[in-house]
Symmetry: C2
Subunit: 327 residues, 2 copies
């Protein structure tokens, strides 16, 4: 059944319905959806984290299997009915990790199964498969784009030590630096100080330091402070607002770089934004929009066209049919 067919009308046609599986797996949860050929979601399943860098290949594969089985159960179909699957995962930027995950999922019995990065499915979901750019800023940050010739480019995704500019982790670290500077009287006073005590625990600088450097502290937990930085900024704190504005400019630089590398300066296309830090709204979006407008005046900021797991299901279908269509 080709992508442009009409919905099935008869029992015979119904028997030919194909199902596509999309998975969106990250550091906190895994979401699987099953769609039919008409992109209608017929089943959904959730499971724990499946970033193999964080939880290992075995646990990641187990979480993905669990999410898929729940989605199959909800759709009342067997895994064997799945025509193609696309697994989008955090932590698989390296090809060897994608191959290891693919091998770990080979016993699912799904013939056409691809493992791609979470950025790949977010890009597809953001632009509906067309040309455009997606700016992803959650715990980390990455920006990817695709032009009309199908060429792709990404910047960022370097993690908290070497980058992740504009991400939740970056915003939280900047805020902690501002807290240290305010405490030492090196920088301006800010309501971030009290917010940091409330979030990390402690009543003195020493206690705050102890909390930040405790062995159980994680990058995810630090990044969680970004929400509070956003709240403090909304209440008018100038230091917090400056950090968010800088985050927006950093994300704008990332988008501008992708646009330049793909030679899209003179085209009209969506720049979609995805991720937790965008609850900051205009505090972050305004400097991002300005940075994009400077390099590509016809580009426009937008929310993604569809959720990543559904985008993955559509990519699965495209992977199955694209070679035939191209030949």
């Amino acid at each position: 059944m080709g992508p442009d067919s009409a919905p099935p009308q008869t029992a015979e046609e119904m028997a030919k319905v194909e199902f596509f599986l999309g998975v969106d797996g990250g550091g906190t949860k895994t979401q699987a959806v099953i769609t039919d050929s008409f992109y209608r979601v017929v089943g959904e399943g959730l499971a724990g984290p499946s970033n193999p860098l964080r939880v290992g290949v075995e646990r990641a594969a187990a979480a993905i299997r669990e999410a898929i089985d729940r989605a199959c159960q909800a759709a009342s179909i067997d895994r064997g009915k799945i025509a193609a699957a696309e697994i989008g995962l955090a932590g698989v930027r390296r090809k060897d990790w994608r191959e290891r995950m693919r091998a770990a999922l080979s016993d699912l019995g799904i013939d056409t199964l691809e493992v791609v990065t979470d950025a790949d499915i977010a890009l597809f979901g953001a632009t509906d498969g067309g040309p455009g750019v997606v700016v992803i800023a959650g715990t980390g940050s990455i920006c990817c784009g695709r032009n009309a010739h199908g060429r792709r480019a990404c910047t960022g995704g370097w993690g908290p030590v070497a980058g992740d500019e504009g991400s939740g982790s970056w915003i939280a670290r900047r805020a902690l630096q501002a807290v240290a500077q305010a405490t030492d009287e090196r920088g301006p006073q800010t309501a971030l100080v009290q917010a940091a005590y409330a979030y990390f625990g402690g009543e003195t600088p020493d206690e705050l330091s102890t909390a930040i450097y405790a062995p159980e502290m994680t990058n995810e937990r630090i990044a969680g402070f970004a929400r509070h930085v956003i709240n403090v900024a909304r209440e008018g704190d100038q230091v917090a607002r400056a950090i968010l504005a800088e985050a927006g400019r950093e994300l704008g630089t990332a988008a501008a770089t992708v646009i330049r590398r793909l030679h899209m300066q003179h085209e009209a296309f969506p720049v979609a934004y995805v991720g937790g830090v965008f609850v900051a709204g205009e505090l972050l979006l305004e400097p991002l929009r300005k940075a994009v407008a400077r390099i590509a005046p016809k580009a426009y900021l937008t929310q993604p066209a569809m959720a990543p797991a559904i985008a993955a299901a559509r990519m699965a279908r495209e992977h199955l049919y694209a070679p035939a269509l191209a030949s």
Copy 2:
């Protein structure tokens, strides 16, 4: 015997000679020195790391005991001959850690034994106990000062997440960010890229990322890259030079803050600099000097008057006699 006596001439006078112990303990090694009343070093001993935050109280105390015993052996004296000891340690900014270390060392049988921070002994060593400021920038960074009234103030020492601006760890992280930006074409090209591959290992961005985020990677190991950043800067790389200049400005801001907080703007005093990053020389010192000159034109940059372990021994003596002198 008071501090201003002449050296002992007779056997009777020799019998009255007092010995003072100074210890400088950090994340990589512990140095103990024994001096006589005339600040002459009569014995020295080395042992492994004694930062209790890193190695635990037990191992830190064992290293300190080992260094002291070696120093006693070198000086051919018993521990019982030590009139007073000053133990300067990294990782004891919190009072409860200093107290735990003091308790762990109580079985040494030294009556007058104080545990202070490494910054305390560096400050004393930098200014010979007089008014002044010390800027310490090794793996981390901290700046402390003391004015003519004996008031003390410090800024920094917040660790790699919340601060340590201008330190080796900070310089190395900035350099890694510049590497990521150059690789992504977000920032200018720089010789730091090849230097990072050579230091951390790897031949592709993915391999570099994997090396930086490997579980066995430590903040100390990251900070070690700073030496290579300095080499690249010396060879003329503009990105590396800009990072070092910013490090110097950050350390200058720290010094200026301490000077302001101690109301020393109009006085003449030494600003001593200590730590591995200062092998960068004028690339770092020039912006630091300028920042200090702006707030305190009569202050002057200098190397420390004495080594930290020897400073500790002098502090030990001062602690023993100061109450008597003050009364």
